[in-house]
């Protein structure tokens, strides 16, 4: 069973520029797919299209995006809203930027939970605290009482992951979730995400330009360039025996990959 399936997807923006050309690949259940590519390759656009969160003027011009076999593009606004955050969740590069800067984490977290399940504020708060401790955040109460800008980048990202995972979604879309973090924190966040996949069975699509993160986390790797999918395959095949010329170039361009730049965790 595939959780997510891109079928011949093209995305165009208002200025007539096609950001994604005829991309097809599938995300099997429980698997992690890394979408790698340089900036402007259309990798973020692709997962935003799945969430129905393309920036203004962007639209899917052809193809289908299947979520558990159903075409998301045929969903009504309310249908897609109700699965966002519960069935499929998303995290971003700078988590703090994607929270209201003038409200504390707690109310925003509780608001999110109560959008999906009917619980009291207190119960929602308890779910939030449990989830935050699960992400190994010390002093979850303090996090709930903090404004986003009062937390470090790593804490914010882990809080955002906790928020995204609290409804036990089947799919987590992660848009450059580690790029704004320093290397040690990066490794922690990667490990947390791997652990969540193990515990909850959530499939993850991670968009990254970091080949190290991709090779560390992914079961499958999709390589994109200028809106085209250049290569899609199992991790070992893409890393060790890349078929596409661009993938080969990209792997060669990161020689440090073999040394310390690669995310070493264990």
């Amino acid at each position: 069973m595939n959780v997510l399936e891109f079928q011949d997807i093209s995305v165009i923006y208002q200025n007539g520029k096609t950001a994604v050309h005829n991309v097809s690949f599938t995300v099997p259940e429980h698997s992690i797919v890394a979408v790698v590519g340089e900036s402007g390759s259309g990798k973020s656009t692709l997962i935003r299209a799945a969430m129905g969160l393309l920036s203004t003027g962007g639209s899917v011009s052809q193809g289908r995006i299947l979520f558990e076999g159903e075409n998301l593009l045929g969903f009504s606004k309310e249908q897609i809203r109700s699965i966002r955050g519960s069935e499929m969740a998303m995290i971003f590069q700078d988590a703090g930027d994607y929270l209201n800067p003038r409200r504390k984490i707690g109310p925003q977290y509780i608001e999110t939970i109560r959008c999906h399940i009917q619980v009291s504020k207190k119960e929602a708060g308890q779910i939030a605290l449990d989830m935050l401790s699960r992400l190994k955040l010390a002093d979850p109460e303090r996090i709930m009482r903090s404004y986003p800008f009062q937390l470090s980048g790593g804490m914010r990202q882990r809080a955002a992951i906790a928020m995204a995972m609290s409804m036990h979604p089947k799919l987590l879309l992660a848009d450059e979730p580690t790029s704004a973090l320093d290397v040690t924190v990066q490794a922690q966040v990667v490990q947390e995400m791997l652990k969540l996949r193990e515990d909850m069975g959530t499939a993850i699509v991670i968009v990254t330009h970091n080949m190290g993160v991709a090779s560390r986390m992914a079961d499958y790797i999709a390589v994109m360039k200028n809106g085209y999918l250049r290569e899609f395959g199992a991790r070992d095949q893409v890393i060790n025996a890349p078929r596409d010329e661009y993938t080969q170039q990209m792997l060669m361009a990161v020689p440090e990959l073999e040394d310390e730049q690669i995310v070493k965790i264990r």
Partner: protein, 313 residues
């Protein structure tokens, strides 16, 4: 916070000195003679001796600085002086006119907010739909019209032609309609555009995308997140408008013979009624400084980033 407010109140004293001193100098520099104006306004042509005597009584022959010092001394003792035009104390005169201006300001302000906010939000949410175009088109009209012309137009149509209201405003509900409309229409048009811009800016921020990605409904996003945040820049503007309104809209008050403070000061300037002008200037300075202070306090309450950063300092 208390320290901050205290500091601002000390600043208020400095502002009051500066503003009253400057207006004193400027009005004195005007070429006409206050003593003469007083007699002319009473309809008599005084003899030169009588004028000289009156000037002496009014202290107009002293150096300007001495006059200012004398005025200041009296003010510090709670005496704002006597209006030369109305022959009663400035305080009595102002406390009679102020309620009229406050009434006009309050009604206009409330109506403005009640109309401008829904329209501004609607315009932003329905960006580039026909309703947005309509609102923007109409607001453009409203901004472009000078208010004295708008006032005359309303007066002509609704008072002269249709006869719904009196040309000279009366002291009942009907009397306030035209002045309020004249004050409110341009303000609504300005604010609709400002609110639209502020809401659009917030709608374009990433936290809105974040909230959508968590499945929060559009309604909650608009009313729970976007609107409270968009309020912040609007609060400053509203503060300025409140100052402006409480200063009395001189043109509109004169146009509709509304017995408010704006009308009063126009008359005071015409007859060189120095004590009354000075009284008005004090009122304006106090209002502006207080409104600014209130806006700053609101800002601190509404924006945790400012509030908490200051605490760290």
């Amino acid at each position: 916070m208390i320290q901050y407010i205290a500091k601002r109140l000390v600043q208020l004293i400095a502002v009051l000195f500066g503003v009253t001193f400057l207006t004193f100098m400027i009005t004195q520099a005007a070429p006409s003679d206050a003593a003469q104006m007083q007699y002319i306004s009473m309809g008599t042509i005084p003899s030169e001796e009588l004028l000289e005597q009156t000037r002496e009584e009014m202290g107009l022959n002293d150096p300007v600085l001495v006059q200012y010092g004398r005025w200041l001394w009296n003010v510090l003792h709670g005496d704002l002086g006597t209006s030369t035009k109305f022959s009663e104390s400035v305080l009595t005169q102002m406390s009679r006119k102020l309620p009229m201006t406050i009434e006009l300001a309050a009604v206009s302000g409330v109506i403005m907010v009640l109309i401008a906010f829904p329209l501004g939000i609607l315009s932003a949410v329905k960006k580039n739909k026909w309703i947005d175009y309509l609102i923007r088109f109409l607001s453009f009209f409203g901004i472009s019209m000078p208010n004295f012309w708008l006032g005359l137009l309303l007066m002509y149509v609704f008072a002269v032609r249709l006869g719904w209201f009196h040309v000279v405003s009366t002291n009942d509900i009907a009397g306030i309609v035209l002045p309020v409309a004249t004050l409110t229409i341009p303000m609504v048009c300005t604010y609709v555009r400002q609110i639209r811009a502020a809401v659009l800016e917030e709608l374009n921020s990433n936290y809105v995308v974040g909230a959508r990605s968590r499945g929060i409904s559009e309604r909650r996003i608009i009313f729970g997140h976007v609107l409270p945040n968009a309020l912040l820049p609007i609060v400053t503007l509203i503060g300025l408008s409140v100052g402006h309104l409480l200063g009395g809209a001189a043109i509109i008050e004169t146009l509709f013979s509304w017995q408010g403070i704006g009308n009063m000061v126009v008359e005071a300037i015409r007859v060189r009624d120095y004590p009354l002008i000075q009284g008005y200037v004090i009122w304006m300075a106090v209002i502006y400084v207080m409104v600014n202070l209130l806006v700053d306090i609101m800002y601190r309450l509404l924006d945790p980033q400012i509030r908490l950063r200051k605490k760290v300092d």
